[in-house]
């Protein structure tokens, strides 16, 4: 009897530890579905693209919706004022091309190789139209970048860059792992519902700064254990309900019960 009790105590204690471990592991894996602005593919600069290739791919894949002169149709917008930055952003983040004409533009894996994208950027962005050029990035100052980010970006992307929601139910993307160029392009052109930040509200140096700071976001900001998606009190409160309180209730369930008196042995 006593031997069994002792063993069951050890088992229970191990069980408790296992619960803690499992719960922590679960939180690591059960991260809320996180859309990522960039698809995380390695960035390769889209410079000096092949115009013939660009025209070929454009007529084959894009002209259906955007028109042969990129003038726009009822299925897709006019791209003549889009500019290289916009085209590059949409293609690199896999928002374009759409697989179905009526699909929504959401970040996806990149669908063309770097050379094709470069060619399309040149053909659509520079030959058929004009607009915001590809950003020329250089080193930035993260302290200044942090100030800019908190003032201009945090309200939508969260101070942590984890992203949040818009009133229509779409997701403001998470910024971790997004290549610098795409961040810069998004800032300048304001894709989708994002407002654009022109050179007069955010000069090139500030753009470099904020892009540098964004590269610091995510895992690098984690100092004290599991990041909980850097989502703030919602995640923290949920965790408080899921782990410590149930755990302590289990502990008192075990502690609060009287051990049966050891008399049967005597």
């Amino acid at each position: 009897m006593s031997g069994r009790t002792r063993r069951s105590w050890v088992v229970r204690s191990l069980g408790l530890l296992a619960v803690i471990g499992a719960a922590l592991w679960l939180t690591t894996t059960l991260r809320a579905g996180s859309a990522v602005a960039g698809a995380g593919t390695a960035y390769s600069p889209s410079r000096a693209g092949d115009t013939n290739l660009g025209q070929h791919v454009f007529l084959r894949d894009c002209a259906w919706c955007h028109g042969i002169q990129a003038q726009g149709t009822s299925r897709g917008p006019d791209l003549r004022s889009a500019g290289p930055a916009y085209v590059d952003f949409m293609l690199k983040t896999g928002r374009m091309p759409l697989l179905e004409p009526d699909a929504t533009t959401e970040p996806h894996t990149q669908k063309y190789d770097a050379a094709t994208i470069a060619a399309l950027v040149q053909y659509v962005g520079e030959q058929l139209g004009s607009g915001e050029p590809l950003p020329q990035l250089s080193a930035g100052d993260i302290t200044s970048g942090r100030t800019v980010f908190l003032a201009s970006c945090a309200a939508c992307h969260s101070s942590s860059g984890t992203g949040t929601i818009l009133q229509d139910g779409t997701r403001v993307p998470q910024l971790y792992d997004t290549p610098s160029e795409q961040i810069a392009e998004a800032v300048r052109v304001g894709p989708g519902e994002m407002p654009p930040f022109g050179a007069k509200t955010l000069d090139d140096q500030e753009l470099n700064d904020v892009v540098s700071y964004v590269q610091q976001l995510g895992p690098q900001q984690v100092e004290g254990g599991h990041p909980l998606d850097q989502y703030g009190p919602i995640a923290e409160s949920l965790l408080a309900f899921l782990i410590p309180l149930p755990l302590l209730v289990i502990i008192i369930l075990l502690l609060g019960r009287r051990a049966p008196r050891k008399e049967s042995e005597e």
Partner: protein
């Protein structure tokens, strides 16, 4: 040898204080053996943990709104002008060795503290142990809950970061929503229009001194009343309103409780080490026009936040006054909540016509109506917390915020009735069938319960009848019924097994 030395110390102290007989009685204090009686202890120990870690944090925290140039090791803030409160909290997190562990453990302990108080309150509520003679201790407990919530909010606001600064702005607006004196109240608390430059200093005084002192005093009162009235206990063989059956404080319960103290500290420390909480360096320093998203508070004030989100837009002008929208969810709801909690023992008495004295802990099923009200209330606040987490719902369902909000507006009203009704039926079935527990409730039990009700028979488990005053046993002096062994001195303890165990 060692025993003799210890003996001498005890004797020396007794020669001066004469404590032995009091200590003897204290050691024989009886604690009932049921897990639910330890919920309050979790709160007590997490409070002690909060005080211990809080003392450490106080040594490094600089509660000042004055600007200073940050020069610590967190690179993205080098050379930035921030408030001393913020700079010192970042320093605690990055430059004070083990500082982040203590800070995070302190924050997690706050969650556990308030959470344990709420669970303890639920235990008292559902078992009816707020009834006479414990109404006073119930009100002390409700006051402790309010103080714990307030101190959690105050502590959360101290680092002067962007997230908590937004919380303070909401707090300011809610204060403005107080009828008639709102604008004055908000200005007096903040020393002027928001944000002012004194609120951190004022919250600091409240957070580290005034509120903890009040909590400590009220815990003492709570304990003193408990010791005077003695624990309630679940009914069972040999258990009555006139006694307490359980374990002695020494040697058994004290060590069990000490174990719980270490477990509570362990859980706080482990979470502090493994789960990052409130990374204020990420949220950024407070600046009035800036905001991060999602901007919500910890759950113990988050239910107000959720209610603020759900309350429909309306701002009527009446007799020259505007009734601000945030008044309803921000001012009225907390007032009604805590007023209902304070008055519950007297409301319950009116509803049940139960004016007797109770020392036997009721099982929740004994009062299905009370179970229904309790479950409905918990559902309401639960849905408010879901509204606080609206972002997560939107992210999972991709539904527009308006749809989620409108759904929750309906759910928050309807669901409490549904869950309350279900809880009532389950409690009634448990009571009338005499089933062992919620999970043991079988179809046959439901049928039996129905038959019992149809036959109009008295329920098998009668609500404990309080002894009338004439019947109540002559009150012996404290400690008297114990013999040298600490065993009850009852002449013929018919129901106490010679071994001390109560026969089944």
């Amino acid at each position: 040898m060692r025993a003799r030395r210890a003996n001498r110390v005890l004797r020396l102290a007794d020669e001066r204080l004469g404590y032995a007989s009091v200590a003897r009685k204290t050691m024989a204090k009886i604690f009932p053996d049921h897990w639910s009686f330890m919920l309050g202890e979790i709160a007590l120990y997490s409070f002690m943990f909060l005080v211990a870690t809080g003392i450490y944090l106080v040594l490094f925290f600089d509660p000042s709104s004055h600007l200073t140039t940050y020069d610590g090791s967190y690179a993205p803030m080098h050379g930035k002008e921030v408030s001393s409160a913020y700079a010192s909290t970042v320093s605690i997190s990055f430059d004070v060795r083990a500082g982040l562990l203590v800070r995070q453990a302190h924050h997690w302990a706050a969650h556990i503290f308030v959470g344990a108080i709420v669970l303890h309150l639920c235990r008292i509520f559902f078992t009816g142990m707020f009834r006479k003679p414990r109404e006073l201790n119930w009100t002390v407990g409700v006051t402790l809950l309010i103080l714990a919530i307030f101190n959690g909010f105050a502590g959360y606001s101290l680092p002067d970061d962007l997230l908590s600064g937004t919380g303070l702005h909401i707090f300011f607006s809610i204060a403005e929503g107080t009828p008639f004196i709102g604008d004055w109240l908000a200005f007096l608390v903040f020393g002027g229009n928001f944000p002012g430059d004194v609120i951190i200093e004022r919250l600091y005084a409240l957070h580290i001194l005034i509120v903890p002192a009040l909590i400590a005093i009220l815990i003492t009162v709570h304990m003193a009343v408990l010791i005077r009235q003695k624990h309630s206990h679940f009914s069972g063989p040999g258990r009555s309103d006139a006694n307490v059956v359980g374990s002695r404080m020494w040697p058994s319960y004290a060590i069990r409780s000490l174990s719980l103290m270490f477990f509570v500290s362990a859980v706080c420390v482990l979470l502090g080490g493994f789960a990052q909480i409130n990374p204020i360096w990420v949220w950024g320093d407070f600046s009035s026009p800036q905001i991060t998203a999602p901007s919500v508070a910890d759950w113990y004030v988050g239910w107000i936040e959720g209610a603020l989100r759900l309350f429909p837009p309306m701002e009527p002008h009446l007799l020259g006054f505007t009734i601000p929208n945030q008044f309803w969810a921000g001012v009225l709801l907390p007032l009604v909540t805590f007023a209902a909690l304070y008055l519950w023992p007297w409301i319950d008495r009116r509803l049940t016509h139960d004016y007797g004295t109770h020392h036997l802990t009721g099982r929740p099923r004994e009062s299905p109506g009370r179970v229904a009200i309790g479950v409905a209330a918990l559902t309401f606040y639960g849905v408010c917390l879901v509204a606080m987490s609206e972002e997560t719902l939107v992210q999972w369902t991709h539904a527009p915020v308006a749809d989620i909000r409108n759904t929750l507006r309906v759910v928050v009203i309807v669901l409490p009735f549904v869950t309350g009704f279900i809880a009532h039926r389950i409690a009634r079935a448990l009571r009338d069938s005499g089933a062992g527990g919620l999970l043991l409730l079988s179809k046959a039990d439901w049928r039996r319960a129905r038959e019992v009700r149809r036959a109009g028979k008295a329920p098998p488990i009668p609500p404990s009848e309080p002894p009338t005053e004439e019947e109540s046993p002559e009150a012996p002096a404290p400690g008297e019924p114990l013999d040298e062994e600490g065993r009850p001195l009852t002449e013929s303890p018919a129901w106490v097994h010679p071994g001390g165990r109560i026969p089944e």
